[in-house]
Amino acid sequence: MPRILAIVGTDAAAEAMRQIDPEVVAVYPITPQTAVVEKFAEYVADGVVNTEMINVESEHSAMSACIGAAAAGGRVMTATSSQGLALMWEELYVAAGLRLPIVMTNVNRSLSAPINIHCDHSDSMGARDSGWIQLYSENAQELYDNLLQAVRIAEHPEVRLPVMVCVDGFIISHAIDRVEVLDDDRARAFLGDYVSLPGYSLLDAAQPVSIGMFDGLYGYYYEAKRAQEEAMARALTVIKEIGEEYRQVSGRGYGFWEEYGLEGAETCVVALNSACGTIRSRLKEWRARGAKIGLLKLRVFRPWPGEELARRLAEFKTVAVFDRAVTLAGGKGGPLCGEIAATLYGQAHRPRLVNYVYGLGGRDLTQALVDQALEELAAMPAVPEPMLPVRYLGLHA
């Protein structure tokens, strides 16, 4: 029997970690991730899990210790936010390059300076080319579900890549949500035992291997990177398969994205994470009044499900992309919109693209701001200009 809990987002992450029962967790606390660490420390102290938990001295050390433990053949997890993720940067690439299936919760928070502890997606968006799979979660339920699936995706023999599960800081991490949790047996059966692949484990006494070595100018670095790309591409299939398997176990299926009200729609809003809740609640009213507009909530950002996404988005007249991060390039807008624009380039029909940047440093995306965008979209002339200048929602005058 699944249990229904009323817990905050960080507890949902800790609950998933309890069921995953990783061999090693190396962490450093940072707001708003901290409660994940504290809750999990309780599980460790109470002997509820068998995890070796190391309270290391920085996030750089946290990721390094995770890499060491994963290279030694363990199931390994960590969690961070913001500056913590930034400090891990060097090691993020190492984890991915060594093809180590580490799973990490990233509680999205803005980056300094000036210092700000509230939500935006600058942290994970900055890590988008680091070789990590990135799954985004609207609420605590999706965070929990994504974490269980992340372990399977990361460890899949066709993939072997680290996975970052993102969720919005404070808005979700610190708010109480309804979370349906699998019973432990079912969760463990879904997760299975971790089998480290031969040739990938440092601690294979029978077959010692060296990993990460410099093999010179005429070596295979280039090929290793190409192999990472291919693994990313294969991950698309694996993510779908595991999403389907998870549906059978939990009743909640997962694909690359989730749609709301897109049948017959002319305008499609694309967004990540918690903003989707606010947008959906406004769309409900707009649609009741006959507006032809719906929502595509993207879950999988890495690997980029470009082909399928392009085909779907090309069906609309207008695509409005909400970005909670900004590419500081002088008016280029947000990273999500940039990727969507590139993806649509090859389509015969290209919808009009409108980019709304919102919520930097935790600026609230209110229902009124969503309405403001929806009104603007509704009033746009029928003759589309291909791409409009970036809009900044909720910016103080």
Binding site: Y28, P29, I30, T31, T34, A35, V37, E38, A41, E42, A45, D46, M53, N55, E57, S58, Q83, S112, A113, P114, I115
Partner: protein, 262 residues
């Protein structure tokens, strides 16, 4: 003679302090601005560099130049300032997490380089700002939110590390001894080369609560009892040294500093 208040260095409109009732940070800030006043430091010639943490928010209240940096890196930022503008008084405010845990490497090398900075490390034995997690200075077996059944690791002694790494001036005070603290900070600022003032300080909200010292009073008493003047400490037999620490000026030497050698 009226005693220094340090008020002229404080942004009065930012008061009252955001720190918890009973936090030691207010006392340390008081000692710091009094030291500034007694030394006659000019605001425009003084830069306070902070990391991130409860103590790292001290710059919110100061009218000197201030650079609010990132967690653990304040000394590296400060090194840049001092290298380019050796005439400035550069005072670096860090917690124990900031200063000697995540920022431990910068701490070692600032002391080794003997660069003319004054580090005021408020050691409250845990990460106050993030909710009382274990730090590099949390005593072994003590409780924090991430060591619920006691810290399995040993603690680091920031003064011993700074002394070994080559700092010209090393002193330890406590938030119980405000006057002495002010005097140490003055010596530290005046001394050329790298100076460390470690301040043992109460965090009743987290560290105290988890270690049976819920009130500020209980924490201050604990610090008062632990703090033994260096001379007395040196006379103690090894077993008696358990559970206490020497306070006062621990190291004072005049090795050439970074700017002099450069």
């Amino acid at each position: 003679m009226a005693h220094a208040t340090g008020i002229k260095y404080l942004k009065e409109k930012s008061l009252p302090l955001m720190w918890c009732p009973g936090c030691g940070n207010g006392i340390v800030l008081g000692a710091l601005v009094r030291a500034f006043e007694e030394l006659g430091l000019k605001k425009h010639e003084t830069v306070v560099v902070t990391g991130i943490g409860c103590w790292g928010k001290a710059d919110d209240y100061l009218l000197t130049n201030a650079l609010h940096t990132t967690h653990g890196r304040a000394l590296a930022f400060a090194t840049g300032i001092k290298a380019y503008q050796p005439g400035l008084n550069v005072v670096v405010l860090m917690g124990d997490g900031d200063g000697v845990t995540i920022g431990g490497n910068h701490f070692l090398h600032a002391a080794r380089r003997n660069i003319d900075l004054t580090a005021v490390v408020v050691n409250n034995y845990n990460y106050g700002m993030t909710g009382g997690q274990v730090s590099g200075t949390t005593p072994a077996e003590h409780y924090t939110t991430t060591t619920v059944y006691g810290n399995p690791e040993r603690e680091l002694d920031p003064c011993a590390v700074a002394a070994a790494a080559g700092a010209n001036y090393v002193a330890r005070g406590t938030a119980y001894h405000g006057w002495e603290l002010k005097e140490m900070i003055k010596e530290a600022i005046t001394k050329k080369g790298f100076s460390l003032v470690e301040v043992a300080s109460p965090c009743p909200t987290h560290y105290g609560r988890y270690n049976e010292m819920k009130t500020a009073l209980a924490m201050l008493r604990w610090l008062k009892e632990k703090a033994v003047p260096l001379k007395t400490y040196e006379q103690l037999e090894e077993p008696e040294k358990e559970g206490c620490f020497p306070v006062g000026r621990l190291v004072s030497r005049d090795a050439p500093d970074f700017n002099a050698r450069y």
